[in-house]
Symmetry: C2
Subunit: 189 residues, 2 copies
DNA sequence: AGGCCCATGTAATCTGTTACATGATTCC
DNA sequence: GGAATCATGTAACAGATTACATGGGCCT
């Protein structure tokens, strides 16, 4: 009852096929939700059955045919109902955090390596967000765009994604450095 | 295969009962993982069966008896194995983000209200984190504690939790304000 | 007596992941 | 001919949530 609304929200701007949605919801592009292709195909089926979206077959000659979806009026109503309803508490889950939590009782060196690697990944993701933000602004000044642009929702969620990724990045480097100095201290003892 | 390690990591510092773990993993205190009591009781059963933790009955007179758990050597080995293994991609899921994404097509006023309310919640959580951090430092200077303290893992994860919560808080207020000015603009048109 | 906190679960259901399966077209 | 991308699923399993169930002790 949750991926459903993420799909509806995504289909607001564009009609997409399951395959296209799968790329959007894949790690890297999905800045506000994540799902695997199988889940999306299943969800699209359910949404169409429920009449919240409508599918349209697109014949393609250069590649396999596909089915693209748009939100129906019933779907819009459902999205509005969801918006008004109470939000479930958000959550953030991360193996690396568990590893850092235990790091001074397990293997700090391994964790350090993973932290620096993760910092790199965060860096790429920030670059990706900057890219998306620039494309959404499309030449306009940010202030101007946010005040008068016709569609700012995707931009705003992207801004949050960028901020969080930045914090995560800095934290990784700080932790890695710290665990390094502690390792050094331990060697001296 | 994931909550498991979060539980093991938590039991490193202390022996806890299912009930106590439930409070730690509940919204508010769990800064790096979330789980419901039922899940924890089930997980503790599985972990004990697998020999990764050991339970001990504690007789109490003022309140119901309980069973507290500690990590076994096998459990430590498993935690080390997990630390060395590849981490699954982290994820963050949030209804409010979906709502903001769709806000300029649904009801911006409702979303604004939820954003300001959420900002308040974030504020309390930051205060809670500050509290926990202070208790962990226990009078020591942060630099000093991080360099020479015997157990910094929990402190580090808490620092990240605080940073992310702070970014989330600021973003909520910024979004709410922005949606407000846009609403104003729309009224003028 | 009623409400709250402590303490521990079972059962049913829903959601998400892993493994498997198929087939077209394009590029090298 | 083989790999990559496009395109869509099914089936089995693992993980998480919701609903339900129970009972003692403390405080007012």
């Amino acid at each position: 009852m949750a991926l459903q609304h993420a799909v509806l929200a995504t289909l607001l701007d564009h009609e997409y096929s399951g395959y296209q949605l799968a790329k959007i919801f894949d790690i890297g592009v999905a800045n506000f939700w994540h799902a695997l292709p199988q889940q999306l195909y299943a969800e699209l089926g359910k949404l169409e059955q429920a009449g919240l979206i409508r599918g349209r077959r697109v014949i393609q000659h250069d590649r396999p045919n596909k089915r693209v979806y748009t939100v129906t009026e019933l779907g819009m109503a459902e999205l509005e109902r969801f918006t008004a309803a109470e939000a479930k508490p958000s959550f953030f889950r991360d193996d690396l955090l568990v590893k850092v939590y235990a790091a001074d009782r397990t293997d700090a060196v391994t964790v350090m390596a993973q932290l620096t690697e993760r910092a790199e990944q965060a860096k790429s993701k920030i670059a990706l967000f900057d890219d998306i933000l620039m494309r959404l602004r499309d030449g306009r000044d940010e202030q101007e765009f946010l005040r008068h642009g016709s569609r700012v929702g995707p931009y705003l969620t992207c801004l949050l994604g960028r901020s969080l990724e930045k914090e995560y990045h800095d934290w990784c480097l700080r932790c890695a450095e710290l665990l390094g100095t502690r390792e050094g201290v331990r060697d001296d003892a």
